[in-house]
């Protein structure tokens, strides 16, 4: 590089190594970082970072919304999953880094909004400022042609401008001041409006904080539980009755109101006329009888997909349904060891369902059954190989069961799933690996088990529903804050904040009225507003506007 310098170049002395800056103490640095954090630039950066950080959670299944998807994803990509797990990508929205971004953003927001609130409260108590000396430098400047007017006429004219502005929602103040150069006096009205703009702005941001706090509290005190109820059965809202239950951190059993919901009837309607949508569900209705302790006794209600049941401080949602074949098992000694409807979980749109029957009371050995239920089994001429259901309604209900004997492991006190049968230590007596093939039953059929183990009867089919019971004490708070967000946004964006001045200026030719305004924030309608005021006022006075 040196060669490109002119021959007469000589280096100036090297600059001091340290940049000459004021020394900041601990407080100074804290103040510096706080200023940085609460600056608009940082807020904008955090906003864009938040948008960016939310993306990975939509690319990878999330534990909260799609737990089975996570399991499948991990099985398919074991190596990648370890890395993703380290970065909490399967829990993106409760991960440390995502939380850090939005918490910083909210701290930045609060740090910005609090001083602005203080400032706004002050400005609400402040009167409009003094009229500027030169209005012609301001927006929408308009003036009338000068006319010789008497002093009291001028006073009346200013008073009428005052009234006009006041009526249009301006906060006003009258001034008498001397002119810029010639010492002549000028009467004027100074007016300001649109304080609601900043109010809306602050309400919007405050309500966002409100949502965050309400959601935070809600997650601590809420709970959700799932329960399968077969037609004719009932559910009582106590902890032990749930199939699964997810309490918030501060949940206690005593919160549960022990109401009961009995499923009287479940009706599913499927499309039958439109061939393009044949078999598509068009309505699910659950008729229930509820009983709330301390309430007005039993009452009948319906639950539908878009209309949950609000009961005892909880909401019960109809999120699933299926078939529960009534199965009776007689053991080798001829006793009825099991007789009840068993919920089979649907696997596809045509409700091919899987289920498990555990018969610990069977003698001489415990029995375990697992198999499929097909509401409308495919015609044997059509489907080869595995059976499947071809329609969700009960046109040809069929049950197939594999039968196992052995210790079901139910008396160990270890909780086991009602929907899964661990067959590792059991002996298959009927099924693909046994001498006897799987049992195939239609409604009303009874099939004898091999080796004199007893018999299985398929008595009838009932429907079941899967209810999700939720309790979220802050849900309405969140809604309230969301409404405030919207209201704040509307006023904060669309109410114009502006200052307007009307001034009577004495000149050699007489008195001239001047009109002008100043936008405070986005205000595309200011010029039109000034023109309107000038037109109304001058017409009222019978004066011409100068062109």
């Amino acid at each position: 590089m040196a060669s490109s310098r002119p021959s007469d170049h000589f280096d100036s002395p090297a600059p001091d190594k340290a940049i000459n800056q004021p020394k900041l103490g601990v407080i100074g640095y804290l103040r510096f970082f706080w200023r940085q954090l609460t600056s608009m630039r940082t807020a904008l950066f955090l906003l864009l970072l938040l948008a960016f950080a939310a993306v990975p959670g939509s690319l990878v299944p999330q534990v909260t919304s799609d737990p089975n998807g996570v399991i499948q994803y991990k099985a398919a990509n074991p190596g990648l999953s370890k890395v993703l797990d380290f970065f909490q990508i399967f829990d993106t929205y409760s991960s440390i880094w995502f939380s850090a971004i939005y918490l910083l953003l909210f701290i930045s927001l609060i740090g910005c909004v609090v001083p602005r609130t203080k400032h706004h409260l002050e400005s609400l108590r402040t009167k409009p400022p003094k009229t500027p000396a030169r209005l012609e430098r301001l927006t929408g400047f308009t003036s009338t042609v000068a006319e010789p007017l008497e002093a009291d006429e001028v006073q009346d004219a200013v008073a009428s401008a005052h009234k006009l502005l006041k009526r249009s929602g301006y906060r006003t103040r009258l001034f008498t001041q001397s002119g810029p150069a010639d010492g002549a006096t000028a009467m004027s009205v100074s007016a300001e409006r649109g304080y609601l703009r900043e109010t809306g702005n602050l309400v919007f941001h405050g309500a966002l904080v409100g949502i965050l706090i309400a959601v935070g509290f809600g997650s601590g005190f809420s709970y959700t539980g799932q329960k399968v109820i077969v037609e004719g059965q009932s559910f009582t809202n106590v902890l032990g009755n749930y199939d699964s239950f997810n309490p918030g951190r501060f949940f206690s059993d005593s919160e549960l109101v022990p109401y009961s919901i009995q499923l009287d009837k479940f009706t599913a309607k499927y499309e039958e006329t439109n061939i393009k949508a044949y078999g598509q569900p068009i309505d699910y209705t659950a008729d229930v009888t509820t009983d709330v302790p301390g309430g007005e006794g039993k009452s009948t209600q319906t639950i539908k997909v878009n209309s949950p049941l609000r009961i005892g401080g909880t909401d019960a949602y109809l999120l699933g349904n299926g078939y529960a074949p009534w199965i009776t098992v007689r053991d080798g000694e001829g006793n009825v060891a099991f007789s009840q409807p068993v919920a089979f979980l649907p696997q596809d749109a045509n409700l091919t369902s899987v289920g498990v029957v555990k018969v610990p009371d069977a003698l001489p050995e415990q029995l375990g059954l697992q198999g499929f239920f097909y509401p409308t089994v495919c015609d044997t001429t059509v489907c080869t190989g595995a059976l499947t259901s071809v329609h969700p309604d009960l046109l040809d209900p069929t049950l197939t069961l594999q039968v196992y004997t052995g210790n079901l492991g139910l008396d160990k006190g270890v909780p086991t799933s009602a929907f899964a049968l661990n067959t590792d230590k059991l002996t298959e007596v009927a099924g693909t690996k046994a001498a006897t093939p799987s049992l195939l039953l239609k409604v009303g059929d009874t099939v004898d088990l091999p080796n004199g183990l007893g018999s299985v009867t398929f008595d009838s089919v009932k429907r079941f529903i899967s209810l999700d019971v939720h309790h979220d004490p802050t849900q309405l708070w969140v809604l309230g804050f969301a409404v405030l967000v919207l209201a704040g946004l509307l006023t904060g964006l669309f109410v114009p904040r502006r200052r307007v001045w009307v001034k009577a200026v004495e000149t050699e030719d007489g008195v001239r009225f001047e009109y002008a305004g100043l936008a405070r924030g986005e205000d595309p309608g200011l010029e039109a507003a000034i023109a309107d005021i000038a037109k109304k006022h001058s017409q009222h006075l019978g004066l011409k506007l100068s062109r």
């Binding site: 608009m40 630039r41 904008l44 906003l47 864009l48 948008a51 993306v55 959670g57 939509s58 299944p61 919304s65 799609d66 998807g69 993106t92 929205y93 012609e136 430098r137 301001l138 927006t139 929408g140 400047f141 308009t142 003036s143 959601v215 959700t224 499309e271 439109n274 393009k276 598509q280 569900p281 068009i282 309505d283 699910y284 997909v305 878009n306 209309s307 949950p308 949602y317 999120l319 999700d468 939720h470 849900q475 809604l479 969301a482 967000v485 919207l486 946004l489 509307l490 964006l493 669309f494 936008a519 986005e522 205000d523 595309p524 200011l526 010029e527 023109a531 506007l545 100068s546 062109r547």
Partner: protein, 331 residues
Amino acid sequence: MTGQLITLSLVAIWSAMAVYALAFIAFTIDLARRTAPASEDVVVRSAAADSALSYETMTEGSSSSGRGSTAVLERTAARVDGTLRSSKWTRIAMAFTVIAWILHVGGTVLRGLAAGRVPWANMFEFSLTATAIVVGVFLAVQFWQDLKFLGAYVVAFALLLLGLATVNFYVDVIPLPPALQSYWLVIHVFVASLGTGFFALGAGLSIAQLLQAGGSKRLKFLGTLPSAVTLENMAYRLIVVGFVFWTFTLIAGAIWAEHAWGRYWGWDTKEVWTFIIWVIFAGYIHARATRGWRGSRSASLAIIGFAAVIFNFTIVNLFFKGLHAYSGISM
């Protein structure tokens, strides 16, 4: 009867697409023929230029004028001249657009009649409605501002999406699944598409703004467009309207989700992307108030935001797994 309505609806949509194609050609010819008035380097401003600008250009001499825009009077005249030269093709293009739009709305309404419900319950129907709203918003804002120079962009957008919808997204009229049987379907989805319409125009203006700020000499039609600052202000005013609609969509969606799925927010993929879009446009609004971000940078944000809207509608609908699986298309 239903079959006839479906056929009529499709005929109307295909006809609309043909006329949109004509409108697109006319708009393109219009842009190609537009040339700036004699003084190309003059930054042209519309009479309704934003207040801050006319404040800057105000001189002592113009202080006696009736309106703040008098200072740019001769330039305005030049602009009128420039507009006149292209007005024939603009008028033809606008006429085609209006005809196509009427056919388009007619086809969409017929589809709704055939289905006996609102015509936006699957991706095909939503494409019809959303594009009709985008073009509708484009036509409606002409009463507010002359934005005909966006015609080629808007019509091309509608045409592409309609083509994609009729060829790739088409599904037959089928009844609503229980989860969609709610009045929120009417409100939530309609307001979302209204928001999309405003975002689309805002993004179009932002693209024009970036071109204008880039100062390309080869794109002659830029000389007939408003200045970059005016374009930015118009884009802002459209986008904030879109933002309010989008906020409402989020809230209405949360209320509906609570009714149908038992929770108001669950980070479902579609919810995530609606949130991302909301945050991007919130960023856009803040960028307008941040030093160094006004101008081209905020315009880029508006364009990225609208790209995210398109992404949310196409890619997220088709390829992402989630509860909003109502495209009616099985992949």
